[in-house]
């Protein structure tokens, strides 16, 4: 099987800084693959190496079976949607989108036909004559997308393309991006630091930390089975329990994580069902969020656990869970996710 992209032990060092450090992964054809990580974790550098804006210090990058490691950016069959869109301000929307065809000397009538088609794809029909400065942020984003897609790249690279949009527009564009990917059927590599966005959109996610990939998997794998403390904390919220507390709960000091929504808050008098874990604590803080309420519960050891409850039978309003109240936390043993780290 030929992969869309293969990274073979790729490194990129800037002097002493190891921006990307011995990274290997493969992306399948047609996949929506996300590089997720905090800023400075190496995800954008990886994207820029695929685009050809950066050269790896070591390793090979293979694009559909062809080694592109040393190929200049203009010879690669990939296109990029930039974080700041990078539209050409002196050109009309039509000329921006047709740029890739223009530099390839595609005749004008054909160019105009394809530009109109692209504008329809990104739902901006008839906008050819506008200047980028006359568009809203969301519209510029669509123009940038159309401009990158018109060359029919084998892979589309998206560098935090939704970062500048407000929440509503961002959620709308997330849905549209997925729809457009379905329509054009090409591989998308998406860079983001927003874990929720990554979970929503991706087929698979590579989590970056300090220049390395710490875990690759489908969104549900990453969420349900984070391998390390970093992934457990970066993708969603996790309670990480170790040491004495872990011994109290599971009988072993092996650190594990458990998601706040897997835990139920019950009265201390309630019996613990079979195959469940339990620990007692005191409600420290209550944050009502509407759909649910988030509780901070202090354990006897002084540690705190986060619990998220749907506002059904247990609510702050009916007095079952208010600040200062002693409660019992109960969750299925199967919800415990053992972390890959030494017992410390």
């Amino acid at each position: 099987m030929t992969f869309a992209i293969e990274f073979n032990n790729v490194s990129r060092h800037f002097g002493e800084v190891r921006a990307v450090d011995d990274v290997s992964f493969t992306v399948r054809d047609g996949e929506f693959f996300t590089l997720l990580g905090p800023s400075g974790s190496g995800k954008t550098t990886c994207l820029r190496m695929i685009a050809g804006f950066e050269q790896p210090t070591a390793g090979r990058i293979v694009l559909y079976g062809r080694d592109v490691t040393t190929l200049p950016a203009y010879d690669r069959e990939v296109n990029t949607v930039f974080q700041d869109y990078a539209l050409f301000p002196h050109m009309t929307v039509g000329d921006n989108i047709g740029y890739g065809l223009m530099v390839r000397k595609v005749p004008k009538p054909e160019r105009e036909r394809q530009v109109a088609e692209m504008l329809k794809l990104v739902r901006l029909p008839g906008m050819e004559r506008r200047k980028p400065s006359q568009l809203s942020g969301g519209q510029r984003q669509r123009v940038a997308l159309a401009r990158a897609l018109i060359n029919h790249p084998k892979v589309l690279l998206l560098d935090e393309p939704l970062g500048a949009l407000d929440l509503k527009l961002r959620q709308q564009m997330q849905v549209e991006l997925k729809a457009i990917q379905h329509e054009v059927g090409i591989t998308f590599i998406f860079v983001t630091h927003d874990q929720e966005e990554a979970l929503t959109m991706s087929d698979r996610i590579a989590v970056f930390d300090m220049g390395q990939i710490v875990q690759i998997g489908a969104p549900s794998d990453l969420y349900e089975r984070p391998r390390t403390r970093f992934v457990a904390g970066f993708v969603g919220t996790s309670n990480i329990l170790s040491g004495e507390t872990a011994v109290t709960i599971t009988g072993s000091a092996q650190p594990f994580s458990v998601r706040p929504e897997k835990i139920r808050l019950v009265d201390v008098a309630t019996a613990v069902p079979a195959a469940h874990c339990a620990i007692e604590g005191q409600v420290q803080d209550v944050v009502y969020v509407g759909m649910h309420t988030r509780y901070t519960v202090a354990l006897p050891s002084g540690e705190e656990m986060i619990v998220v409850q749907q506002n059904m039978d247990v609510t702050p309003q009916n007095g079952t869970a208010v600040r200062g109240k002693a409660v019992r936390l109960v969750w299925p043993r199967a919800a415990n996710n053992v972390l890959e780290e030494a017992i410390g």
């Binding site: 685009a51 050809g52 804006f53 200049p72 950016a73 203009y74 990939v78 296109n79 990029t80 930039f82 974080q83 700041d84 990078a86 539209l87 050409f88 301000p89 002196h90 050109m91 740029y99 890739g100 223009m102 530099v103 390839r104 200047k131 400065s133 401009r147 990158a148 060359n151």
Partner: protein, 267 residues
């Protein structure tokens, strides 16, 4: 409510000051132009005893004036052209790549405009003396290019910095090679900066006296010719006629450049 209605109006004091400064700046032009028409031929008295257009005819017939004017124009055009090419290339190199001595080169490029012209002039003169380069049209051009390059370089690098790297990357990403990126992205972005820089370079070169006196030898450019006229009391208004023509001629490209850059800013 009264305060609100005055929001867009400047205070009286500011208006008066602004007008006073504008008069202070431009009144000398008016005087120069006025005395191009005076009937007084050796000393200037105010008001002029009478008005005449006679001096225009006298100026036309002065055989030494025209070569000086053409020499100045030729020098300014060539020096500006050289500055446009070298200044743009230098700005592109300093902006785009990182290399050893980058900061030093950037500093050395800007230095000629900070150095007093007399230092530049003496330096060039001694170099020409040492290397036995004879004074010629080209020695003047070289002298002028030292500071013309600076203004183009400064304008170009400021625009490069404002344009942002991602536009160049986007162009390459879409399949444009280096030349196409320069032709379709860099140059249109740079155009107004180059027009402004070129205009300034032209103006600097056209009225340069100090460096020119050291690099011109026996040749005389228009400013040097005017300067030499001041010591000759006869036909004084001829100098004013020449100044009048120079102001008129240079005003045209300045106005053109102004309108061109304005259009670019609006779009």
């Amino acid at each position: 409510m009264r305060v609100k209605s005055n929001v867009n109006r400047s205070p009286l004091g500011l208006t008066v000051t602004a007008v006073a400064v504008l008069i202070f700046l431009h009144f000398p032009f008016f005087i120069v132009m006025l005395y191009a028409f005076t009937t007084d031929e050796t000393t200037f008295t105010f008001p002029p005893p009478g008005l005449t257009t006679r001096w225009f005819g006298v100026a036309m017939n002065r055989a030494d004036l025209w070569p000086a004017l053409f020499l100045s124009l030729k020098v300014a055009i060539i020096a500006t052209a050289v500055a446009l090419v070298l200044g743009t290339l230098a700005a592109a190199a300093v902006y785009r790549s990182r290399f050893f001595g980058r900061e030093a080169i950037s500093f050395l490029l800007v230095l000629p405009i900070a150095l007093p012209g007399i230092v530049t002039g003496i330096a060039l003169r001694s170099m020409m003396g040492l290397t036995n380069i004879p004074f010629s049209f080209w020695t003047i051009v070289i002298g002028h290019a030292t500071f013309c390059v600076v203004v183009v370089y400064n304008n170009a690098i400021a625009r490069f910095r404002r344009t942002g790297r991602s536009q160049l990357e986007a162009s390459a990403d879409l399949g444009a090679d280096g030349f196409q990126t320069f032709r379709y992205v860099v140059l249109p972005n740079l155009a107004t900066a180059l027009v402004a820089g070129g205009m300034l370079a032209f103006a600097l070169s056209f009225d340069e006296v100090i460096v020119t006196t050291f690099t011109a030898g026996q040749q005389s450019t228009l400013p040097i010719w005017i300067f030499s006229q001041l010591t000759r009391p006869r036909d004084r208004p001829v100098t004013n006629v020449v100044a009048f023509l120079v102001v008129t001629i240079t005003a045209v490209p300045i106005l053109l450049a102004h309108y061109m850059t304005q259009d670019a800013r609006e779009s």
